[in-house]
Symmetry: C2
Subunit: 147 residues, 2 copies
DNA sequence: TATTGTTATACTCTATAACTATA
DNA sequence: TATAGTTATAGAGTATAACAATA
């Protein structure tokens, strides 16, 4: 039935919403907002970055990145360092405090995954991940057709 | 490995992000915003509702609902009807145009689910959904412990 | 001429607090 | 006294467009 398929999608979204709710806890504890945490997350993965590359990675306008970085500078999580090769650009760089927050973020994420999935049998988890991979690939194909 | 578990969680979030991207298409086509679409979605599920119940259902403040409903009234998707039994309250009610948008929303959601999951074998889909159910339940238990 | 980031402007979402009308 | 919704005020995220400095 088409209903089962809709239900599967609903549950994926439900779980994602719950994870988002868990992020709210992190927001309260850190005093950061979701958008700024996202910036730190990207910096953790990519290292010091220009604002242009952050805008591209986050999928927002460069103007928006200016504001997000302003906030993170004010809270002491990042600093704007001169780009060594391009005097127009800056390298948004985590401070020690920012590095600590990024570590907490990564640890919190891994801890959540552990709690959610550690008691799922390996075979079931394999099917679960395979299905997700398939679905994500299918989606990418759909998006190419309808840009 | 803990890495597999984190990867599973990442993929769930990745798929949810892709679905969100698909929602952006709906936003552009309808001229609505995510928050207002969410209001219509709730109205579609619950029928005409007071603003208080919308606030509760959406998890936002009553003041915020005033603004969202103002926008939907301006765009002709809902109207504020008098509550038959309580003169303080209004019943936010979809107009014909709002009803049409809700139908499109439901159809688009079902269509997406169809496209994503229709070629997943029934047994795999069953494991997938079972794992999601387990994880959602696990999460609910975690949230009770840490409110 | 193209790119990086900022200033200018505007809209939406969100919240709390105080207020009005009703229950 | 309590509840439904609005006005008042404020902050954050988002966007486009115009501009500066630099490439």
């Amino acid at each position: 039935m088409s209903n089962d398929l809709t239900s599967a999608l609903d549950k994926v979204l439900h779980l994602a919403a719950l994870v988002s709710a868990d992020m709210n806890r992190f927001e309260r504890e850190s005093g950061l907002t979701a958008a700024r945490i996202h910036v730190l997350w990207v910096l953790g993965a990519a290292g010091p970055s220009t604002q242009q590359s952050l805008a591209s990675e986050l999928g927002v306008s460069p103007r928006n990145v200016t504001g997000l970085v302003d906030g993170l500078v004010a809270s002491g999580h990042v600093s704007r360092e001169p780009h060594p090769a391009d005097r127009r650009a800056v390298l948004v760089t985590p401070t020690p405090r920012g590095e600590a927050t990024i570590r907490e973020l990564v640890a919190s994420h891994a801890d959540l995954a552990q709690r959610l999935f550690s008691d799922v049998p390996a075979e079931r988890l394999a099917v679960f991940v395979t299905t997700l991979d398939h679905t994500i690939t299918t989606f990418a194909r759909l998006m190419e057709d309808t840009p």
